[in-house]
Symmetry: C2
Subunit: 203 residues, 2 copies
Amino acid sequence: MKLYYSQTSPFVRKVLVAAHELGLADRIEKLPASAHPVDRDRALVARNPLGQVPTLVTDDGDVLYDSRVICEYLSELADGEVVPSDGEARWRALVDQSLADGILDAAVITRYEMAARPEALRWSDWIAGQLDKVACGLAELERRAPDFGDRIDVGTIAYGCALGYLDVRFASLAWRDGHPNTAAWFEWFGGRDSMVETRPPAG
Amino acid sequence: MKLYYSQTSPFVRKVLVAAHELGLADRIEKLPASAHPVDRDRALVARNPLGQVPTLVTDDGDVLYDSRVICEYLSELADGEVVPSDGEARWRALVDQSLADGILDAAVITRYEMAARPEALRWSDWIAGQLDKVACGLAELERRAPDFGDRIDVGTIAYGCALGYLDVRFASLAWRDGHPNTAAWFEWFGGRDSMVETRPPAG
């Protein structure tokens, strides 16, 4: 399989962590790509018109995206339970993934606003709305974390990648303050081989 | 079931079209909500910290989001195939849904830029990047449309809702020009009861 990826994309990291947990990491060849929303990567766009990473090309040549679809594909390929196949565990994991992806979307869009957009065109109300989404998401995560136990699924993987992204891009948020349950859980989860092997470069 | 919804959200429409196609529309009570990214709806945030519609409260009191998770839940509840349960049909529908959702995300974010953000803070390069995503997505849809046949699944439903959104919010794009396959398909699909019943208000 081939994966269009970037080292800093938290959505790519979700896929790589899932692959590690499923024992599939060695079967994935990584193709570096840029997923910049303004300077769009034409080689990537030719495979995925959205121009987004992660994009997976399967051994059969099928092109799969986005991260949710790829995680589910890998889970099925490995006959694993990273995406639980049914019942309560499935809905719980999928909603947790939605919440984590939503936190990430808000953080990434804030990052575009603060780092890519010309300074004179930034809109403080927009940033405030997105960061409120992050804050409300973290508050809910804090309520849920005590029940995570040793769950390794797309929900907890997505939370781990969201928190890892905040650590790199929004260190000043100091999310551990006021979220002790989440911090304790991430202390364990973030130390898993799958997370250590996929850690993004600092800064 | 109760669904937090807004009349104009294309992601809500996906869920409502799926419910109609699955024969579940009468079982869903609609709760009006505002999903504005800056003026966040606190009643909705209390159920879903992302403050986004659609958000579903099941008869058991579980809260499900986002539209993908809800569509899958409804499909399973009705023992239907709006989300095909396995095989090639599943991956095809899920990737189609990702592409359609990506077109919609880009269109919605362009709408925020052009209608919600103060005019002096708009960034033309950003709008151009998002509209290029829409254009590349439509070009891929045009390639795929001849193979749709009579498929009614989350992929085709999502395409239908994306095209319907473009008709209401981006009429000036005149997407039918240069996309005859898509236009012919939508002529049929858009006339289904599920689409007619969920048509957003004009303007």
